[in-house]
Structure formats: structure tokens, C-alpha cells
């Protein structure tokens, strides 16, 4: 059942459209990540659901009721900022139990709940500590505990792991998700980190320039990106311009610069039309010999970069195009060096084909 529903939600700031007719429905108990680059409208969306901002147009429903005119405290939501705002003069216990106290609960009930939450965030032994005595990760867990203790069913999380060290952040991902699931809460989590979204979400909403580009489960968004932008922003890929020369039951045959022909299983673009071919770095293997039944692209290694656990190669193809490949290291792993002649291969079913974008390819994939 849909717990939260946004219907045509639109918000402008001056001449900028921050959100443009957003329609999305979120189920009770779902963990949804809203993913997009800076300026996509993610925080605006979250603040509108929280009631901290008012939409210009459209309706927000929570549990079937239109909440457009309800104040934040009556929406069954709790909003958590990236910069966790704990009360510095209160202990961990006082911070966590703050909300139920103001909601006039009995002392017993507050005590039981607070204990339970401190156990859950693994800070029961630090209940007398003040925020300044805790590490960033611990402070963030206290802030989460306080949010959960508020009794609200909907957690609105704005970059909740953004202020933490990279190594700590990765560890907290599964803990945060588990916490939300254990309490049967519903979470909307805003992030610009695609890996975080892929690992944590039941469903991902990809936002770009105030519009939804795609909604789907992590495997759907990753394996079946509906646009060049999504392929680029979620997971990343090699993109090569070309023309579809044949479209049949076998998929599409695409001719790229230098007469090179590449076969992909998809058939999104008609024969004779300009197109963009895409394939993932991690679907591209590197070897010395051609492999039967797949696309083989000969080239020279330009750079080999080790990124903890995988090797990333930049390869200059014979037609002048540059592609990249990411290989997870393994026991049998063999590293190639810059200057070595190699064959990069990817299977047709791992290739994507998109219509050539009206504003050009670069506009769709540039991040900076």
C-alpha cells in the first residue's frame, strides 16, 4: 500500500524549476533512495515531503491524506540533516529520549524505548557521554536513534552518511538499512553516491534537473538504464557515437568511427539512425587474444590504475576512441602495463544503444 504519494509536485525558485511535476508513490516499509547530482532537486523534494517547504503545485499524500497544509510535526515524518544536530549540553540518553518526553509519554515507556534504541545503535554503554566525546560515526548513530525515538513512521534522510569518513560510511550503510527495516519504518534517503543507493535501496528514484529520469530496483536501474544520463550516473559506462546499420532479431549492428562494427542485443534505435553505444567498464574484459562470440576491440593500454580491489585500464582503440575497463582482481589476475597491445571484449547482451541526444552526447554525461 502506498504510504506516501506525490502527485504533480512542482517547485520553482525564481526562474529555476527545482521540481517539475514529480509523481512518485512509496510503499509502507519501503527504503527509497533519491539519487542525483548536486542541483537535481533532491533536497527540495525531501523538504517538501517534510513540510519545511511548500510546493507551488501538486499534492502530497501521507497514508491517503493530503498533507499540503499540515505543519511538519503533524506529518508522521522526521527530517534528518547531513550535519547531525545533537544537543551539545545533553547526554546520549537525553538526546535520544528528547522527542518522546516532549510528546508526553509515561516515564516507563520512554525508558523502555530509549533503552531499546540505544541497544540497537550499539551505544548503550555510552548513554552518559556528551556528543563532543563521541566520534562522528557515533554521533550520527545518536541522531538516527533520536529520529527513530520520535515515533514517526517516515524517516527523511538528507545525505545521512555524507559527513562521515569514507571507510566508516560503507560500514554504516547496512546498519542503517537494517535499523529501518527492524523498526518497520519507511525511509526516503537522499544521496549523490550511486554505490550507496545501489546497496541500500529497495527502489531508486534518479532525479535530474528537477525531473525523474528513472524509478526502479537497484538491479533494474543498473542493468536496464533508460537513458544515457542514468547509464552514466549510475555505474558509469563507455559511450561511443555511431550509426545503426542493421536492426534485426540479433539486435543492432552499430558502425562507429573508423568503420568498426559492434553488435549489441538491444534494439532501441532504427537502422540508418545516429545512436550512442554504451557498455559498462566492468563488462569489458581485457586480454591478449580475441574471444569468440563477443565484440573484440584492439588497442593499446594508455593507463593502468589500481583502485583498491580492481584495476582500471584506459585503452586507445585503433580507431582513435578511448575506452575504459574495470577488472576485479582475483587470484589468477594478470596486470597489463601502459604501452601493451590488448584486446578489449564485451558480449553483445551487455551493450546498450540509445538514440543520439538532441543536445549532444557530452551534455548527457558530463559531471563537472
Amino acid at each position: 500500500m502506498a504510504l506516501i504519494q506525490l502527485v504533480n509536485v512542482t517547485k520553482t525558485f525564481g526562474t529555476i524549476t527545482a521540481l517539475d511535476e514529480i509523481n512518485v508513490s512509496i510503499d509502507d516499509g519501503e527504503y527509497v533512495c533519491v539519487l542525483g547530482p548536486t542541483g537535481a532537486g533532491k533536497t527540495t523534494l525531501l523538504r517538501i515531503i517534510a513540510g519545511l517547504l511548500e510546493a507551488d503545485e501538486g499534492e502530497i499524500y501521507i497514508a491517503g491524506k493530503c498533507v499540503n497544509h499540515l505543519p511538519p510535526e503533524d506529518r508522521d515524518t522526521v527530517y534528518m540533516f547531513q550535519q547531525y544536530a545533537l544537543f551539545p549540553h545533553m547526554t546520549v540518553w537525553e538526546n535520544v529520549s528528547y522527542s518522546p518526553v516532549i510528546k508526553d509519554w509515561t516515564d516507563d515507556k520512554v525508558e523502555t524505548l530509549t533503552k531499546e534504541i540505544l541497544e540497537m545503535i550499539r551505544l548503550a554503554e555510552r548513554s552518559d557521554a556528551y556528543p563532543r566525546e563521541l566520534s562522528g560515526g557515533m554521533q550520527q548513530r545518536v541522531a538516527l536513534g533520536r529520529g527513530i525515538a520520535s515515533g514517526a513512521r517516515i524517516l527523511l534522510l538528507d545525505e545521512p552518511l555524507g559527513a562521515l569518513d569514507a571507510r566508516l560510511r560503507v560500514g554504516l550503510r547496512s546498519q542503517l538499512r537494517q535499523l529501518v527495516k527492524d523498526q518497520s519504518l519507511t525511509a526516503i534517503h537522499v544521496t549523490h553516491d550511486q554505490e550507496e543507493a545501489l546497496m541500500m535501496a529497495d527502489r531508486i528514484v534518479v532525479l535530474r534537473n528537477g525531473s525523474i529520469e528513472q524509478i526502479g530496483t537497484p538491479p533494474e536501474v543498473y542493468s536496464r538504464p533508460q537513458s544515457i544520463f542514468v547509464a552514466s550516473f549510475v555505474g558509469g559506462a563507455n559511450f561511443i557515437e555511431g550509426t545503426v546499420v542493421k536492426s534485426d532479431d540479433a539486435g543492432s549492428l552499430i558502425e562507429v568511427f573508423g568503420g568498426l562494427q559492434i553488435q549489441v542485443a538491444e534494439r532501441g534505435v532504427g537502422a540508418g539512425e545516429k545512436a550512442v553505444l554504451a557498455f559498462r567498464l566492468e563488462d569489458t574484459s581485457v586480454g591478449e587474444e580475441e574471444v569468440a562470440g563477443v565484440n573484440n576491440l584492439s588497442g593499446v593500454v594508455e593507463s593502468a590504475t589500481f583502485i583498491g580491489g580492481s584495476m582500471e585500464y584506459e585503452i586507445r582503440l585503433e580507431n582513435g576512441a578511448q575506452i575504459a575497463s574495470k577488472i576485479l582482481i582475483s587470484d589468477a589476475f594478470k596486470a597489463y602495463k601502459p604501452g601493451e597491445q590488448v584486446v578489449a571484449s564485451f558480449p553483445p547482451e551487455k551493450g546498450y544503444v540509445f538514440p543520439y541526444p538532441a543536445m549532444g552526447l557530452l551534455k548527457e554525461i558530463e559531471a563537472i
Binding site: P37, T38, S135, G136, G137, M138, D165, A166, R167, L168, V170, G171, S174, H192, D193, Q194, E195, L198, M199, P218, P219, Y222, F233, V234, G235, G236, R280, E282, D283, T305, F306, I307, G308, G309, S310, E312, L328, I329, S330, D331, A367, I368
Partner: protein
């Protein structure tokens, strides 16, 4: 291309020793990064090299010259902060020529270098733009260019990519390294992001509690870390504790919990010693019979794009994580499935069991 040499550099804040007798040489033209958890002293170290913080003990040499008493502006360095600090009322050109201008260089002297910098950061077309009109990534590139127009040859980068989106950050890494290498600079880069350090540096220096734990080339640090903390900090690892029960010429046996045994390479191991074995999730193979076959049950499969982490509970209760690129076979695996893991003996690292306990040794906070 200056060399930086630190000799016994020590800095205390009350009872906390932020830098504890640091000895380190950064070679001419080297790109070195420092990583470590919050509070490990990495920021204190870079600020000491810059001359923003004055160490109580030890000497800092830049290009052979003792600089302890030199102010920041005379050390020949460019310093870039996490928080992009461009002058908002100046355009890109004004910002990048600011340093030479206040140092008294004439516009004619400054112009060629400033133009070259703009070319390098691919911003020649945007020299009239004001910071507010630029994206975060572009602003930070401008800040790097500004740090270099004063003819600095040592670039100090203090979490330079920390305030940027993940995707922008990944792209700027390459540009930053290329800039440093093309201009033959020496770079010292502080980050909390181990992946960033790995991909950008010639050498990565790991710090913990004010000391250097280990330093090495990225690949060495990842595949052959000399100690437990590094093994955990520079990437995910499995840790299983046990005792050495048999030592042969080439190999040794470690007995894990409940009598489960694994074979490892013998690098001077002693029988009876309590140890921790560590191995990367990438080296764990599934359903092969080679190496150390260990039976278990899948307890979780975490998806992140093409890679999946498969969490397995061994028959003795220990947890092992395997990292896979999802092939057809792996995509069909389910929680609850029985599985055999294989860990090649030469990929297992063996460390003495830490005195303060394993958890304490690995703690990040």
C-alpha cells in the same frame, strides 16, 4: 621539483600527540597521499609542512632547506583546501592571477603561466566567469590553478575533493594527477577516502593515532599490507583468528574456531602461536575445489551494480565475505544456499594476534 623531508616532526595538543616523531621523505616529483581515520593527525601533518602549524619538535626540509622558521608564503607551496576558497567578487582570471599580482609580478610576467594553467584545467573559455557561475568541480579546479600560478612546485592538497559529488570527485582525480605529473610538481594529498588515495598516488601513507603505520605503492599496500590495521583500512578484508598447529617447509596450518583448518604459506611462522589470518573478498572463489575448501551457508547477498558481496557463515560460525562480478551462475544464488568457498593459500596474510584484541586493532572510531 622539491623534495620534502620530515625528521622527528612532533606536535601535541595538550595530552594528545597529533604527530608523534614523524619521519618521512617525499621524493622529487612524487604524488604522495596520506590516509587515516578522523583524528589520526593527517591534517596536522600537512599544515605543518605548509607552515600553518608549528611543530614543537623536529625539522621540516623543503628542497634541502630547513623551513621551520619560514612563513607559509616563502615556502614555495600551493595549498588547496576542502572548502573552495575563491574570491567571489573576482572572475576566474582575477582569481588565478591574484597570487602573482600581490607578490608584485607584472601582468606581462604572469600572463603566460596563467594562460597555460587555464589551458591545463580546460577553462580557457571561462576566464571571465565568476565563481558563483561555476560548478563545485570547476571552482575547485580554479582553486588548484590559483595555487600554482605563484610558481609553486610543491602542491599541498587538504581534502581537495571532499566537498564534491562522488562522480565529480572520481573524474577530478585523474585531472589532478595528470596536472601534477605534466607540470612535474611534487604533491602531498590528505584524504579520508582510501579509494581516492589508491587511484591518484604513487605512494600511500597510512596514519593512525599520530604515527605512520605503513607506506607503500597502492597495489602493494592492498595485496600485501604489513599490518592488520592497514589490511582493514585500505579496503575490505576477512579476518579469521586461530592458532598455528602445524608448520611444514612451504606451508603451515592454522586451526580456526571449532577445529576448522586452513593452509597458508609459511613465512617464518611458529607452532602454537595465536594469529589472525586475513584475505580480500576478491580472492575468495566459489564452488571450486582448489585451495582451502570451506563449507558454509549464504546469509546475505548485497548488490552494488555489477559487484555483489556474498556473505557466508562457515560451519564453525565465522563469517566470510566474497566479492564477485555477477555472472549468470552467481545471479542465481540465494540466501540459505549451501556453498563451498576456496581461499588460495598464497592470498592469505597472517598476522600475530594483536595484544589489545582484534576488534580494538581494527577500530576506525
Amino acid at each position: 621539483m622539491p623534495e620534502v623531508r620530515l625528521v622527528n616532526v612532533t606536535k601535541r595538543y595538550n595530552e594528545i600527540v597529533a604527530n608523534d616523531h614523524i619521519n618521512l621523505t617525499i621524493k622529487d616529483g612524487e604524488y604522495a597521499s596520506v590516509i587515516g581515520p578522523s583524528g589520526c593527525g593527517k591534517t596536522t601533518l600537512i599544515k605543518s609542512i605548509a607552515g600553518i602549524i608549528r611543530p614543537e619538535e623536529g625539522e621540516i626540509y623543503i628542497d634541502g632547506q630547513l623551513v621551520n622558521d619560514l612563513p607559509i608564503e616563502d615556502r614555495g607551496i600551493g595549498y588547496v583546501f576542502q572548502n573552495i576558497a575563491l574570491f567571489p567578487h573576482m572572475n576566474v582570471w582575477g582569481n588565478i592571477t591574484y597570487g602573482p599580482r600581490v607578490k608584485g609580478f607584472s601582468p606581462e610576467e604572469t600572463r603566460p603561466l596563467a594562460l597555460e594553467m587555464l589551458e591545463m584545467i580546460k577553462l580557457s573559455a571561462r576566464q571571465d566567469a565568476y565563481p558563483a557561475e561555476l560548478s563545485g568541480g570547476t571552482q575547485q579546479k580554479t582553486a588548484v590553478a590559483r595555487a600554482l600560478t605563484s610558481r609553486a612546485e610543491l602542491l599541498l592538497l587538504d581534502e581537495p575533493l571532499g566537498a564534491l559529488d562522488v562522480k565529480v570527485r572520481a573524474e577530478l582525480r585523474y585531472e589532478l594527477r595528470k596536472l601534477v605529473k605534466d607540470l612535474k610538481l611534487t604533491a602531498f594529498h590528505v584524504t579520508h577516502d582510501q579509494e581516492e588515495a589508491m587511484s591518484i598516488s604513487d605512494r600511500v601513507i597510512v596514519m593512525k593515532k599520530g604515527r605512520i603505520v605503513e607506506a607503500g605503492a597502492p597495489m602493494d599496500l592492498y595485496t600485501r599490507p604489513k599490518n592488520l590495521f592497514t589490511a582493514n583500512f585500505v579496503g575490505e578484508a576477512n579476518f579469521l583468528s586461530g592458532e598455528i598447529t602445524e608448520v611444514l617447509d612451504e606451508t603451515a596450518l592454522i586451526e580456526l574456531k571449532d577445529g576448522l583448518r586452513i593452509q597458508v604459506k609459511n613465512n617464518g611462522l611458529r607452532r602454537g602461536k595465536r594469529v589472525v589470518s586475513a584475505f580480500r573478498p576478491e580472492f575468495v572463489e566459489l564452488d571450486t575445489k582448489r585451495g582451502n575448501p570451506l563449507r558454509g551457508t549464504i546469509v546475505n547477498i548485497a548488490y552494488s551494480g555489477s559487484m555483489s558481496r556474498i556473505r557466508v557463515r562457515l560451519v564453525n560460525g565465522d563469517i566470510v565475505v566474497a566479492k564477485r562480478i555477477l555472472g549468470v551462475k552467481d545471479a542465481n544464488r540465494r540466501i540459505g544456499d549451501n556453498i563451498t568457498l576456496c581461499i588460495p593459500p598464497n592470498r592469505i596474510l597472517v598476522y600475530p594476534y594483536p595484544e589489545g584484541g582484534l576488534e580494538n586493532e581494527l577500530a576506525l572510531e
